[in-house]
Symmetry: C2
């Protein structure tokens, strides 16, 4: 029981239903649950590390009406995308400040499951929190699940938090 | 942030290496890690619920030299077994008392993964802690993994904690 705070890495991502800077149902739930049930009022005992992994290819599809005529256009798209990522992180950082728990937040680009596990190895949090959509076996084949991969491969304990039944959208793959 | 303590169910089992009432490497590690990193010194904010599931058939093999001549012999075997289970729980309850965190402990008989998920539904802890041997895909087919089943099926968040590399026995299935 040292005096160092427990470092909690929370992986957060954007919603597939609302527009991008909105947090996904599962990452919002995982984050809020962690504050309520683990951190509680002992804010000086914990530090929240917020990691958002951007999937570049997929996000490019947001801009279907855009015309890309020069390398600058792509740079500008990447910057817009980065701004949305920062806006997403702002939501979580604000909540941490409201309750007075220390936090850090950063963005990485790549395949979320791989990047999360690499960041765990690099940053060495005490544990990792991941939201889960609670998909069945058949759905997993098509949309993959980041949480199951992290439980298996992350080099730290992993807390998996499913969405509440009443928050679950009709298409389970949505979030 | 209500005043109700966070209820943490920890599934514990016996060692396959040392004699039965000794805790397994993975459940001892999961329990101690939870006290150190989650409960910390905030003992009044948490309540530990210790569940030990006994696998009757398997445990019967401990008594290969015994002769069973009457129903009473089986009853006595079951009672010896129960005593060992209580002895296992005593290890964990003692540690809780040492640091001053409230706890409850009980034994159930059956298939651990099913019983743990049923007890989660019945008791409704805030989250479940399970130790994991960190088995690969091939090994899982033969020995099964309780932790992966619980992450998928338990009706509460699940914290999966692997053994430390330096505690891992040469046969990964051992614990």
């Amino acid at each position: 029981m040292g005096s160092e705070p427990t470092k909690v890495m929370v992986a957060v991502n954007g919603s597939t239903i609302k527009e991008y800077p909105h947090p996904s149902i599962s990452s919002k739930r995982a984050f809020e649950w962690t504050l309520e049930k683990i951190v509680r009022s002992n804010t000086s005992d914990f530090k929240i590390l917020l990691l958002h992994v951007q999937v570049t290819d997929e996000d490019g599809f947001d801009d279907v009406d855009s015309v890309y005529a020069s390398p600058d256009d792509f740079r500008s798209m990447r910057e817009t995308n980065k701004a949305k990522g920062l806006h997403l992180l702002e939501f979580f950082v604000k909540k941490c400040h409201e309750i007075g728990v220390a936090c850090e937040a950063w963005i990485k680009i790549g395949d979320p499951k791989d990047v999360i596990c690499k960041e765990v190895t690099r940053v060495q949090p005490d544990f990792l929190v991941v939201g889960s959509r609670g998909l069945g076996r058949f759905q997993k084949v098509f949309v993959g699940t980041v949480s199951a991969f992290c439980v298996k491969h992350a080099e730290c304990p992993v807390l998996t938090i499913k969405r509440n039944p009443d928050e679950t959208p009709s298409d389970l793959a949505d979030d």
